[in-house]
């Protein structure tokens, strides 16, 4: 297990390194003149020179990337603008502060959004999937399957607004989405995020219902289930001690992927509900041509996806002893 983790973490770091290099060169090399873009629509030659100096783009691209990489490990000094300490993902010239600080300010919201929603869609999705598998072919199964089909065809940019219109504006059942830090007021935190959680879970639940059902149906028809039943084990304990374990692997896998994408890119969700998370940060950075910020957000998002995958593989092995980690 330990060797597996070390190997995977090294692999993940290599992937992140490549992603950073690709992203860096795409963001910085492709526009003919990033300084011209950062300078804005009204740009005097003096201002342009100033921006160019600040961006550090007088140097050739590999040198710039090297400086950025160095910054990640030892920090970087931005002259009169300020200092950027060790894990320095860049310095935003628009905000005049290190990128990582802003990202860390926004991260709690995005994580709250992802974790809260996942509690809902895991419980509902896996629960209905289990019921559907046990009641295979009966009414409960058909209802669950139809709902999951419908749910998988819904889109957050439509359902989100419809829910806000009817549940918040017309009926006043829920609060307008907002974010209060958990440490400040847990009740307000939950109330403000309840609507986004529900809408996200409507959309994500479908996948889990389908997955759980098909996995369990497959497991329940396996020989070991028949053997256990023949030995006189009760249906309930066969289900919860054996079949359930075998079915959970793929579900953990898609859960990891979903968590990675939710933390890295709940951009549409955050725009629909006007929440100032990581996704919105990226959107504003695009509008402001804030390349260092974009690079920083991309790296954090990619990191979330990559490390979610590692955790998933480790958990997978814990659940299903047939999987050998190598």
């Amino acid at each position: 297990m330990f060797r597996f983790l070390v190997r995977r973490v090294i692999g993940a770091l290599v992937i992140l390194l490549i992603i950073s290099a690709v992203t860096f060169s795409l963001y910085y090399a492709l526009p003919r003149d990033p300084a011209r873009m950062a300078c804005g629509k009204v740009c005097t030659p003096e201002l342009l020179a100033q921006v160019r100096h600040n961006l550090g783009i007088a140097d050739p691209l590999p040198v710039q990337y090297w400086h950025w990489l160095q910054g990640v490990f030892v920090g970087r000094d931005y002259g009169g603008l300020g200092n950027c300490n060790a894990p320095c993902l860049g310095f935003s010239f628009t905000n005049r502060e290190p990128v990582l600080g802003t990202i860390m300010d926004r991260l709690p919201l995005t994580i709250s959004l992802a974790l809260g929603a996942s509690v809902f869609f895991l419980i509902i999705g896996v629960g209905t999937g289990m019921i559907a598998a046990v009641k295979q072919g009966r009414a409960a199964d058909k209802i669950a399957s139809s709902f999951s089909l419908l749910g998988s065809s819904l889109q957050i940019y439509f359902v989100g607004y419809i829910a806000m219109y009817f549940l918040v504006q017309q009926l006043g059942l829920l609060e307008q989405p907002s974010y209060t830090p958990f440490t400040e007021n847990p009740a307000k935190w939950a109330a403000g995020l309840l609507l986004p959680w529900l809408v996200l879970s409507i959309i994500f639940t479908a996948n889990y219902t389908r997955m759980t059902r098909s996995q369990l149906v497959e497991q329940l028809s396996e020989d070991y289930v028949r053997t256990a039943r023949a030995k006189g084990m009760s249906r309930r304990s066969v289900f919860f001690r054996f079949a359930w374990r075998g079915a959970m692997g793929p579900i953990v896998t898609i859960f990891g992927i979903d968590m990675g994408t939710l933390i890295g890119g709940a951009i549409i969700t955050e725009s629909v509900f006007s929440l100032q998370g990581l996704g919105r940060l990226a959107l504003t950075a695009v509008d402001a041509n804030d390349l260092p910020m974009l690079l920083g957000v991309t790296m954090v998002a990619a990191g979330a996806i990559v490390f979610a995958n590692i955790i998933v593989d480790a958990v997978y092995a814990l659940i299903d002893p047939r999987i050998r980690l190598a």
């Binding site: 992937i15 607004y161 806000m164 890119g265």
Partner: protein, 342 residues
């Protein structure tokens, strides 16, 4: 370690045996032989959900293709701002005067607030744009994915390793984030910073960008399939008889891969429709004067609290399309690959 992917498809040759079991109609005459394709078609025709959803999907494509004709018969176009030109349609706040978004016998789906365009033709042309983009992206992605996946699986060794790593990296990319960050940069490659981007260029860039991120998953799936097939006797036999690699790929491998390719691409198209609309919603895909599903939702979001009707039309039609297409995808899979479990 890779978790097992849900069984994509068994090769076509096994279908005959299982088809015989499921045939309820009088069994075919002994001398009557059917190709796997015909068997699949027979299975599909018996699947009522599949036939209905195929009808809905075809309906959407027909109205998308016939959009100019329908608009002509209907007598309006998606660009004219009727609400501003004709007095009495929009009130002082630029919202439709009539209830329910201004639905009337004149404007079947109502009028857009503020600009006052006709919702019916805008939606019609919007479906046209979205389906065109999604179809083009699906075709390109499938082609690229098949070529790369089959190459990796067939050649193996270093090529396979390299392609495998590229796929790993692509799948770890936060793609939505990358799109919103990267699309403006791509446009800037072709058009100077402060000029408008022509629509065709936006469309082309979108298709290419969607393809660039989409091929990895289908390539990975096909690579796995080819790895399995490569060791089978019929491929060995072809090799021994001196068949060229091209012949082996096209005559021996590809016929066994049609099922997963078809299934994957039917799953891909609705995903691209919603992805494209999502990008338009975020303002990085197709933008306003061009009719598009996502553009409509983005416009609708601006005044959803005062005029929800405008948002209902693009939203519900998109759900209908995606649902029908997903159901169709399931039926296609059941027809081609009756052994697969849902």
């Amino acid at each position: 370690m890779t978790p097992p992917t849900p069984s994509a498809a068994a090769p076509l040759e096994v279908t005959e045996e299982s088809a015989e079991k499921s045939i309820t109609s009088p069994s075919p005459k002994a001398n009557e032989s059917r190709s796997p394709g015909q068997l699949a078609w027979r299975r599909f025709k018996r699947d009522r959900t599949g036939v209905i959803s195929a009808g809905i999907v075809i309906f959407f494509f027909v109205i998308a293709i016939a959009a100019p004709l329908i608009a002509k018969l209907y007598g309006k176009d998606p660009y004219t701002t009727y609400g501003q030109d004709i007095p009495g349609l929009l009130n002082d706040f630029a919202y439709p005067v009539k209830p329910n978004g201004g639905i009337s016998s004149e404007f079947w789906f109502g009028i857009e607030p503020q600009l006052g365009r006709d919702v019916f033709t805008f939606l019609l042309y919007g479906i046209r744009t979205s389906l065109l983009l999604a179809t083009a992206a699906t075709v390109l992605t499938t082609l690229l994915g098949v070529v790369i996946g089959v190459t990796a699986g067939y050649l193996g060794g270093k090529t396979d390793y390299l392609i495998g790593r590229v796929i790993d990296i692509l799948l770890s990319f936060p793609s939505t984030l990358f799109f919103i960050a990267f699309m403006p940069v791509v446009y800037n490659l072709f058009v100077p910073f402060d000029e408008d981007v022509p629509v065709w260029l936006r469309a082309t860039c979108l298709i290419l960008a969607l393809t660039a991120f989409g091929w990895a998953s289908i390539a990975r799936l096909l690579r796995g399939q080819v790895l399995g097939l490569r060791e089978r006797e019929f491929v060995e036999a072809a090799k021994v008889t001196g068949a060229s690699p091209a012949r082996i790929i096209f005559k021996e491998l590809l016929p066994n891969l049609w099922t997963p390719i078809l299934i994957q691409s039917t799953l891909m198209l609705p995903a691209y429709v919603t992805a494209e609309a999502g990008l338009a919603f975020l303002g990085v895909g197709i933008i306003d004067p061009t009719p598009d599903w996502g553009v409509m939702i983005q416009r609708g979001a601006q005044f959803y609290s005062d005029d929800i009707t405008f948002m209902i039309f693009p939203g519900v039609s998109m759900i209908l399309f995606v649902l029908a297409f997903n159901l169709l995808g399931d039926s296609v899979r059941d027809a081609l690959d009756p052994k697969s479990k849902r």
